[in-house]
Amino acid sequence: MKVMLSTTVNGEQVQEAVLPRTSLADFLREDLGLTGTHLGCEMGACGACLVLMDGVPVHACLVLAVQAEGSTIETIEGLNETGAAADLQARFHDRNALQCGFCTNGMLMSAQALLEANPAPTRDEIRDALSGNYCRCTGYEAIVDAIDTTARDRAARTEAAK
């Protein structure tokens, strides 16, 4: 039996009937066509499906869509629209921090949430924040570089704005 779900996705109010067995990831991808949220393992191990739920990263494969009732979801499409992570995306590009790109959206979600909570992370803290994100192509050095550089850029911009 379908259940009515109302939630906010990338700033828009969404009302849909969903089957309880539908994961938030499948709901975003199939019902809303937001395919930037990737699915790898579907058991919480790879981090490809990370989205922001009420401002913090969660695995969309491990959250049932019905559990998102009343919450606010932000996907990579939302970050693209607002431009909130444009600088981070540019650094991933500059530093060759992606190859196939399958993991990248999840990496960006972790990185964006880390920098919000901790604007000046050490490289160890960056690695720790990425411990639940698998990349099967690049190795992590370039990814850590991209996040580290973005943190410095943002700090410099804040300083300059003072």
């Binding site: 309880p20 067995r21 058991m43 919480g44 990370l50 491990l62 959250v63 924040a129 639940g132």
Partner: protein, 286 residues
């Protein structure tokens, strides 16, 4: 993998949760953070016909001082356990355990109540509540029960909870001034389950250990209290000698499983090394 079909119901009160549970004739599972239930259903390890979401029930929320204990609501998420100042002050073994529990995104959803109710022997919080001699507040249609952590973990994924009962909170007795705490684990990768882990606390009186509480996890079917190691520490100053005695005593306390690729002897050896590290760090700050 996709989940099998089930019915999803949200309980607004404990009474409603019990009614929805008994109504399903035992074929129902409570849902808190869902970070163990959902993957286990995806893997077809279980296929209950009903999931009862208990996350909105008021009694399961909040962290507050109540008399001589800190009451931690079962719905407190791992990330909150990590960040809460009352927990850091009065139940530091939990704050020290939290960074070792999974990855940041999982900590944003997983709850301490779900974690304890699941009772994974490689999990960090069960060992921490055992070492702190916490009491678990449990409510069922018959009323409230307080269960000592020592009596809660019965077997592999088996607790003293009666089907339908809800774990509502953890009560941690407030520590006396000067209590020492130690926590660490050895894992293959940051955020992975422990190969072996230790949670310990000790009190000194006139420079002598008057009380010690040592638990190990990932060494058997439940988290375990190391009573011989505790006794070896008591009545002497915490020193290289007493630490060596506690390490030796672990052979009496533990009978680890013999896994292919991870022999019992090696696990015991790792437990000794880790216990030595944890106690030495406690000695250094005393």
């Amino acid at each position: 993998m996709k989940l099998p079909s089930f019915e999803f119901l949200r309980a607004r009160s404990l009474a409603e949760a019990w009614a929805l549970h008994s109504d399903a004739g035992g074929d129902a599972v409570y849902l808190s953070g869902g970070h163990s239930v959902v993957p286990s259903m995806a893997l077809r390890l279980q296929a209950p016909s009903r999931l009862i979401d208990i996350s909105q029930i008021a009694e399961l929320h909040g962290v507050e001082l109540q008399g001589d204990a800190l009451r931690i609501g079962a719905m407190t998420r791992h990330a909150e356990v990590l960040a809460n100042p009352l927990i850091a002050r009065h139940a530091p073994l939990l704050s020290r355990a939290a960074p070792h529990v999974a990855h940041p995104a999982i900590r944003n959803r997983g709850t301490i109540g779900g974690n304890l109710a699941l009772a994974d022997p490689a999990s960090e919080f069960p060992a921490a509540v055992l070492a702190m001699r916490a009491e678990l507040e449990v409510m069922g249609p018959e009323g409230q029960r307080m269960i000592a952590a020592d009596d809660f973990f019965l077997d592999l994924y088996e607790t003293a909870l009666i089907p339908g009962e809800v774990l509502t909170a953890i009560h941690v007795p407030l520590p006396p001034e000067g209590r020492m705490f130690g926590f660490d684990e050895i894992a293959r990768r940051r955020g992975d389950y422990a190969m072996v882990g230790v949670a310990a606390q000790a009190d000194l009186s006139d420079g002598v250990v008057s009380d010690a509480s040592v638990t190990l996890f990932s060494v058997g079917v439940t988290p375990m209290r190391a009573t011989a190691a505790q006794d070896a520490l008591k009545g002497a100053p915490l020193s290289t000698d007493s630490i060596a005695r506690a390490q030796a005593a672990l052979a009496t306390d533990l009978d680890p499983p013999d896994d292919p690729g991870f022999p019992a002897e090696r696990r015991l050896q790792l437990a000794r090394v880790l216990l030595g590290r944890v106690l030495t760090r406690m000695e250094a700050v005393q």
